[in-house]
């Protein structure tokens, strides 16, 4: 059944940070955002533009000063934060795996939620591992001995174990080399399509966005200056601010050179 409104919606959210002398430093201003199941929304912008902050508002690692965020039409503040976070997990820039094997890491979400341990060999987990391209041969290896790219795949798979509806991606490819990053982008694309996950993908890597994002939002100084389908925003930006940002981005220049 299709929802009357997109799965994840942010309405006029504003966020400020405590600065010295009791001052508040505005980070995000009246930001609107929405992404539906099966869609990847990329949030781009220079560092300090507030894109990671925006992401962390969705699973309440941060709380907005004003505005509202809805998951399937429900205000996220009405959900207990642990439940919210299992429905919208966040994958960080640097993969963090707990000590022990890959298998142990895949069981950790259940342990942390005091739920029954999932059957790693069962079809449900196997499908996740398959989609995330986590090889069964890694399962009993020490998680910290995997390459960074492999670790990030395990992190993605780990966050999907549970009632996951959306995925928050905080520059998940920036610690990876190009081919590995491209493959991971492909994986996100597959995940969105095959599992119907809504994804918010924060990055400054425009090349990666072109490979997997459906829509793009450009954030400058905490304000959305441009939004629309990926191709339109990247190649036919409507605003001068967007044109300036896109042409100043080193990643973008490299794309043209290829």
């Amino acid at each position: 059944m299709r929802q009357a409104q997109p799965l994840l919606v942010a309405r006029e959210v504003s966020f400020s940070r405590q600065a010295e002398a009791g001052q508040r430093l505005p980070i995000l201003q009246e930001t609107d955002l929405q992404v539906d199941s099966g869609e990847i929304l990329a949030v781009v912008g220079p560092s300090g533009s507030g894109k990671s902050t925006l992401l962390r508002l969705f699973n309440r690692l941060l709380e907005p000063d004003r505005g509202q965020i809805l998951l399937a039409g429900q205000d996220i503040r009405t959900l207990p934060p642990p439940l919210l976070r299992t429905r919208i997990p966040l994958v960080a820039q640097k993969p963090f795996l707990f000590s022990g094997t890959v298998r142990n890491n895949l069981q950790i979400p259940a342990r942390l939620r005091r739920a029954a341990l999932p059957d790693i060999e069962g079809p449900e987990i196997q499908e996740i591992l398959d989609l995330c391209q986590v090889s069964p041969s890694w399962l009993d290896r020490d998680a910290h001995k995997l390459s960074i790219g492999q670790q990030q795949r395990v992190c993605v798979a780990r966050s999907l174990v549970g009632p996951c509806q959306a995925l928050l991606l905080d520059e998940p490819t920036s610690a990876l080399d190009r081919p590995t990053a491209d493959q991971l982008a492909q994986t996100f694309h597959q995940l969105a399509r095959k599992r119907g996950l809504a994804m918010i993908f924060v990055t400054h890597d425009l090349r990666i966005i072109e490979r997997c994002a459906d829509c793009v939002v450009l954030l400058l100084d905490g304000t959305v200056v441009e939004e629309g389908p990926t191709d339109q925003v990247l190649h036919h930006p409507a605003t001068d601010a967007a044109r300036e940002f896109l042409s100043s981005d080193p990643m973008e220049k490299r794309t043209f050179a290829e």
Partner: protein
């Protein structure tokens, strides 16, 4: 009461202070730059202990509960202040958390021993209560500052781990559990080590004091054993309370880590 104890006269005291002069001389010889420190520390010791001596003399003479309790409250106050000075980065509500924990941890253990175990008569007998509480509070103070410092360091070092756990749907209690248990371990190590080494390397202060004042060594040993158990119990309880009350202050009401 104890005919064996030899009083130290003022003249005797001045004689032992010559040892400090010797230490200052040696420090000067080796250019360690501690001459001034030794002088002031020696002077502070003299003044502070003399004051304490007179206060205790007065409290012993008054034979009522109130002055004894007052002394204990002042001791706890100094302990909390000392921890505050030692710990570099303080958790939110630091003084409330530490004060409450020391009051219940040390107070609880001291009264448990004095009233339920040795059955002090009257219950506030300062001759027992004050020195015992002093040892308990002093040791718990060390444990508490270790715990507070360790907890803070753990939350800094494990920020990524804790946030990852929260992002996977963990409660704050489970996410903080490794940090809390590591802080508890750090706080308890000195007590455990000193229990295990007791009697091998040195004769502990309480026992030495009792033996000097003419107590039968076996009684002194039993007191020492008992007080070590009380100290360990108090360090454990005080630390537990600090950690239980304290770890939540690192989280927001909506169960995320506070910004640094």
């Amino acid at each position: 009461m104890n005919p064996t104890i030899i009083d130290i006269s003022l003249w005797d005291l001045m004689t032992v202070y010559s040892l400090l002069l010797m230490s200052i001389g040696l420090a000067h010889l080796l250019k360690s730059g501690q001459g001034r420190d030794i002088f002031w520390a020696g002077l502070r010791m003299f003044v502070q202990l003399l004051l304490v001596g007179y206060v205790l003399h007065l409290v012993f003479a008054l034979k009522t509960a109130l002055p004894v309790l007052l002394v204990l409250v002042v001791m706890i106050g100094f302990a909390v202040q000392t921890i505050g000075a030692r710990v570099q980065v303080k958790m939110p509500h630091f003084y409330r958390v530490v004060g409450t924990s020391i009051l219940f941890g040390c107070g609880g253990m001291t009264f448990f021993f004095c009233i339920l175990v040795i059955g002090l008569e009257p219950w506030y007998d300062p001759r027992y209560l004050i020195p015992l509480a002093g040892m308990v509070i002093g040791n718990s103070m060390t444990g508490a500052s270790l715990a507070v410092e360790r907890l803070n360091a753990e939350f800094r070092e494990r920020r990524e781990e804790i946030e990852t756990a929260l992002c996977l749907g963990s409660s704050v209690q489970l996410a903080a559990a490794p940090a809390v248990s590591s802080a508890f371990r750090a706080a308890l190590i000195p007590s455990v080590n000193s229990m295990a080494a007791m009697g091998l390397v040195f004769l502990p202060g309480l026992m030495t004091g009792q033996i000097l004042s003419g107590t039968e060594p076996l009684i002194a040993v039993k007191y020492q054993i008992a007080i070590m158990c009380v100290i360990t119990g108090s360090v454990a309880l005080t630390t537990f309370l600090i950690l239980r009350l304290g770890y939540r202050s690192y989280f927001t009401p909506y169960q995320s880590l506070r910004e640094e």
